[in-house]
């Protein structure tokens, strides 16, 4: 695995002369991304702004973002992993069958030109969206793109970054990472964190019906998750903390209205490049903040003894 080679959006704004958006539609989903960071800004290293930058869009259909792109590559749906594999092979100068390349919906010479541009740019950046990470192949699609970005560092500076969605999802990942060592898909049932996406990730736990209660903060799984997961949420006691009444609130036993973060509640939000930004509330809310509710629940739970007996063995991988 390659891991993630990344940077901040400040670096992208000042230095990135080659931008790839893969499986995302920033013109409609992240409307300020072009103007604030990736395309329009001028800097010491890119004095002519947009003219000094090249933007490539890879997607399965021509979205509004295609108008802003210099090169638009329309990949056949479900062929992202194949296309990334071909690019990785071409970067390594391995011969690839042009007919096999054509099956991905993109001609061989177009890819040759793309690889030449990728290798010859000064600072490349790839942004990828749900069109890549949530289609067939899922985490392996993202892994292929991140590995391609890592391997391009043999030729030039290249980074990759996910286009994160609404809410403070990056913040959730970052906090879980420094608290437990893992970003998501964690269980604490043995008293210490264990990580296994597919076994402990929320959607899998709900679809299999492996939990007997759910506590949901700042998310609306009732609107986004598959039907078996929603059915399970309706079966078990579900508690929702949200400023609004959501789809999940409607099937929950308890809904606690909270003050909206950033408007009436202070806190820290993480930008998609994992930069923490403090939030200053502009208004006062009659409702408590998420933090206050969780702290009060935690204080009530802390009065009870720790559930795990002292001599419980750990299920660490080193045990055997």
């Amino acid at each position: 695995m390659g891991g993630k080679v990344t940077c901040t959006l400040g670096e992208v704004k000042n230095r990135a002369d080659f931008i790839v958006y893969w499986g995302g539609n920033p013109a409609e989903c992240h409307p300020r991304h072009f103007t604030k960071y990736t395309l329009m800004q001028k800097s010491r290293w890119l004095p002519r702004g947009r003219k000094d930058r090249t933007m490539v869009l890879v997607d399965i259909r021509e979205t509004k973002s295609a108008k802003a792109a210099d090169i638009f590559l329309q990949v056949r749906p479900g062929c992202d992993f194949e296309l990334l594999s071909i690019l990785r092979a071409m970067v390594r100068d391995e011969p690839v069958d042009p007919d096999a390349v054509a099956e991905t919906g993109i001609a061989y010479d177009v890819l040759e030109d793309l690889v030449r541009r990728m290798k010859s740019c000064r600072f490349g950046c790839m942004f990828f969206g749900m069109g890549l990470s949530m289609t067939r192949g899922k985490h392996m699609n993202s892994a292929a793109l991140l590995t391609l970005a890592a391997e391009l560092n043999a030729f030039t500076k290249f980074v990759a970054m996910p286009m994160r969605g609404h809410g403070n999802v990056t913040g959730a990942d970052v906090i879980m990472r420094w608290q437990t060592g893992y970003p998501f898909g964690i269980t604490f049932n043995r008293g210490y964190p264990r990580y296994n996406p597919g076994e402990f990730s929320t959607v899998d736990v709900l679809v299999r019906g492996d939990c007997d209660a759910a506590f949901i903060i700042g998310a609306d799984p009732g609107a986004t998750m598959p039907q078996p997961a929603i059915d399970h949420l309706a079966r078990i006691p579900t508690i929702v903390l949200d400023p609004h009444v959501t789809h999940t609130s409607r099937l929950a036993r308890v809904h606690i209205t909270t003050a909206p973060a950033g408007i009436a509640a202070p806190g820290t939000a993480y930008r998609m490049d994992e930069i923490p930004l403090p939030l200053k509330p502009a208004l006062k809310s009659p409702y408590p903040t998420d933090e206050e509710i969780v702290r009060r629940i935690r204080e009530a739970v802390a009065t009870r003894p720790f559930w795990m007996p002292e001599d419980s063995p750990q299920m660490t991988t080193e045990q055997l």
């Binding site: 194949e82 594999s85 092979a89 391995e94 991905t104």
Partner: protein, 279 residues
């Protein structure tokens, strides 16, 4: 023989890593009943979930709907574990020897990171069979896993050595990042077979849709397939290998990594060999 019968299905996953023949072999009936299982976060005694018969034996029979019972036979070194019903995740994970037989289905991570032994599933199995846990570099290092039904995603994820045989159809990413060993597919696989494989061998009796980063090499009847066929014969699996029966098309890859892996696809003699340009 030790016989365990599930009394009631667990409401949440039951982590039962103590139910391994090599651990139970030296214990009396009372000691077995007093072992700990983890029902969610609650610690429970074995006799709260299972009726226990017998003691001091390395032959263990477990009966019931065990779909939520995880880690059965974890790290076992010898003995026999027979499961009548469907087993949960991590069956035989990290096992070092012995034999597991399941008359039913199994879930993900069967025989993950095992180093030796035999696992046989008579029904279907989930994904990551013989795989490496997240963050780990190597999957199974030796041993044999046989699944008679279908299997899920990422079969043989990062496996290092050993043999996996799947009777039914396998889903995507079979042999992902393989570093060695052999996967035998008796009924083919869906897409992306052998993705990112460094070394290792995948044999398929049905045609496969390969990644564009694989290259055709030759038609061949290599000797080692005959050796595999002889090894699998006592296990009731017939692998064709004689030149009179047909030949294997050999593909090399995966060329997006330093790929020295190989995929063999069987062409029976009755069907004419496709011309190289058609591949």
């Amino acid at each position: 023989m030790i016989r365990l019968t599930l009394k009631r299905p667990p409401a949440v996953p039951l982590e039962a890593e103590v139910l391994s023949p090599s651990l139970l072999a030296g214990l009396s009936h009372t000691e077995i009943c007093g072992l700990h299982l983890y029902h969610g976060k609650r610690r429970m005694r074995v006799d709260e979930f299972f009726d226990v018969e017998g003691e001091r034996s390395s032959t263990v029979d477990i009966t019931g709907d065990l779909r939520r019972v995880r880690w059965l036979g974890r790290g076992m070194t010898d003995g026999t574990l027979t499961i009548h019903g469907s087993a949960g995740m991590h069956l035989g994970a990290r096992m070092k020897g012995g034999r597991i037989e399941v008359f039913g289905n199994a879930d993900d991570w069967v025989g993950a990171e095992m180093t030796n032994g035999l696992v046989r599933i008579h029904g279907h199995a989930g994904g990551q069979i013989g795989g490496a846990y997240r963050g780990s570099l190597r999957g199974m290092k030796n041993g044999t896993i046989i699944v008679e039904g279908t299997a899920g995603l990422e079969v043989g994820l990062r496996m290092r050595r050993g043999t996996i045989v799947i009777g039914g159809r396998v889903r995507d990413f079979c042999g992902l990042q393989m570093k060695g060993g052999t996967i035998i597919l008796l009924d083919g696989a869906e897409i992306r077979t052998g993705a990112w494989m460094n070394r290792g061998t995948i044999l398929s009796l049905r045609s496969l849709k390969l990644l564009p980063t694989f290259r055709f090499a030759c038609y061949d009847n290599p000797t080692f397939i005959g050796v595999h066929a002889r090894f699998l014969k006592p296990l009731g699996i017939r692998l064709p290998h004689a030149p009179t029966e047909g030949s294997w098309a050999r593909y090399c890859g995966d060329f997006c990594v330093p790929g020295k892996g190989e995929i063999f696809i069987w062409h029976p003699a009755a069907a004419p060999e496709p011309a190289v340009s058609e591949l």
